[in-house]
């Protein structure tokens, strides 16, 4: 199980280091496949059949539908909008920061009194690490398109978090959360198109008409 957790973290680092849109989308797809496998593993260990369905949904929605939707809506975007040329912290430094965030999440989870359970002790720190790395990616990237990847990482972290801690909230709610994400991704990609059209850029640093000064 430690092994599968390590693969998940490696996949996440793969997303953090990718500059281009198509590259990180591919890395995200790998991460989602690993996540689905981890989910199936948890389903096998706990013996709860509903988690198998969640694993299936993860595989279908996150590794197939979301990448397809994102590729489809951004097909007309110019290539220069898709590459993160100038993040606030360089990608090399972000790997170090991400590693630091992983260590931090292991430290944090030791502070909270959880039941001793192999699933919780293996995956909970990883889920919190995903959440923190996702937050960091959103803050760090300048291109609105590449901020979406931060949201996706956060969401994968949340999914793993609820799954390990509670062995899956009920299936209906999982479906609701999946539906929210899917709609959120679609809306954000429509917004991206409009940003690129009206601002002629996807640099969020240029989104500063609305200020109080």
């Amino acid at each position: 199980m430690i092994f599968s957790g390590a693969i998940l973290l490696i996949a996440t680092f793969g997303i953090v280091t990718r500059r281009g849109f198509a590259d990180w989308l591919g890395a995200y797809r790998y991460q989602s496949i690993v996540l689905a496998a981890v989910t199936a593993l948890i389903a096998y260990v706990t013996g709860i059949w509903e988690i198998y369905i969640a694993a299936g949904l993860t595989l279908v929605i996150k590794s197939i539908i979301i990448p397809k939707v994102l590729l489809y809506v951004t097909r007309n975007l110019e290539i220069e909008f898709k590459v993160e040329t100038n993040p606030y912290v360089s990608l090399r430094a972000s790997v170090i920061i991400s590693a630091f965030l992983v260590a931090l999440s292991y430290f944090l989870t030791q502070q909270i009194p959880f039941k001793s359970d192999p699933i919780v002790s293996t995956y909970l720190p990883i889920s919190i690490a995903l959440f923190l790395i996702g937050l960091f990616v959103i803050v760090n990237r300048r291109s609105a398109l590449n901020q979406v990847v931060g949201l996706l990482i956060i969401e994968n972290g949340l999914f793993l978090f609820t799954l390990t801690l509670t062995h899956g909230v009920s299936l209906i709610i999982e479906m609701g959360i999946f539906a929210d994400i899917l709609v959120g991704i679609i809306i954000s990609s429509i917004l991206l198109l409009r940003i690129s059209r009206t601002f002629d850029s996807l640099d969020v640093g240029k989104l500063q008409n609305l200020r109080d000064d």
Binding site: L158, R194, R197, L210
Partner: protein
Amino acid sequence: MELTDIFSGSNGTILALLLTPVIGAILVTVIRQKRISEIVTISSAFLILVQVFFIVSRIINEKTITAFGNTFYIDSFGAIILLPISIVGLVSAMYSVNYMGRQYDNGMIDMKHITRYYQGFNVFLLTMLIVPIANNMGIMWVTVEATTLVSVLLIMLYFKQNAIESAWKYLIIATVGLSFALIGITFFYYANINVINSSDAMNWTEMMHNSKLFDPNLVKIAFVFILIGFGTKAGLAPMHTWLPDAHSEAPTPVSALLSGVLLNCAFYCIVRFHIISSSTIGPAFSSQLLIILAVISVGIAAASIYFQKDMKRMLAFSSVEHMGLISLGIGFGGLLGVYGTLLQIINHAIVKPMMFFASGTITQKYETKAISKITGVIKVMPATGVLFLIGGLALVGMPPFNIFLSEFLILGAGLKSGQFLATSLVIIFLVITFAVFLRHVIRMVFGNPSPEIKNDSMGRLAIIPVVILGSLVFILGVYIPEQLQTLVHNASAIINQGGST
């Protein structure tokens, strides 16, 4: 469950309430005609209002309603959130006819946008209606997230730069914020399944029932996550940064719903967990956090209103101030404090939409939102000008209008509970807001209008919603109906059941 059970008793009541906006949205989608979409949306909002009054009168007599097993649960506190949703929903639907119609006539939007707008309006009402009646905290989270998505769609109706910028910031900040809330909810759920492992463990009533047995440290961490998460959505400083953008760039009827109603829905979620946390570890922890955020909110709002150049942004920052006051009241606690807070929720939900409607009409007339370019409203549009002034006076807490009473109760509770520092800071900030807000309003209402203003009528539906809300402001300032008193009283008892500071 038998099929007939779905339609009978409380199940039928809830189902009818939720189906009304669904049917409204479907009809708007199918028919695609401007006049009919308007009529459908107004009737759907009106039917919601009637049903909410029916539900609230049942709550006054029976205290609680549960439906579909334990999935839906309404108590007096939920009813207090439902009331403003239905009232503001109806007046916003009425105001939309004129406001969106005018933009349609000016060629700013076409029929496709009108259809999209009324679809979104109905779905937005649906998502907000589910929040205060859901017993299952997972469903509550899903619908709060859904309100974000629907309102982002409503804001990005226009292709303007500002609207798109604000929609993007709103979407990212609110989604990230709500992911914190989901972590908090998961922690509470985890605490609950450690006590009892049942399929109902996600229900608020079940959590409340077991709350005395929760692990105190876990509850503390969980509440912090809840406060950051839903606090972002409720516009509490310092997580409020998206609010002035989104509320000022949305179409005015949507701004009214966002400011008057949606903020309450998000704050409602915080209070639900405040109740559980108070029951586990006593109210001191969560109350202190609420008071700190409240003081920051009121302070930031005071400073921002002082420097404000945009009328709708000014109103949005006033919402930050009022959410701060509501948070302050819950933090102070005590029977009177919570009583005042619940009144404040209702009062703010009436006054803020009234101000947004008036400012929307002014904006369309003057074709600008800049405070410095708007003068002499009372000469150009006497009725709107007078109502805008009344709303402004009510908003800063001037007697005899309704907000005076609730603010007075909240600050009194602060002194009574011994929170002198927080109370005196907030009083100073309120005095500053009073002066600068009124200065802006008076400058806009009086003076001589510039001669370029077109002299055309704004239409009857631009003023009727403002008059309806204005009369409510007067009535609630001097007289609170007995039924409402009972309701607010029962709801304060629910919030205070964890004990008071």
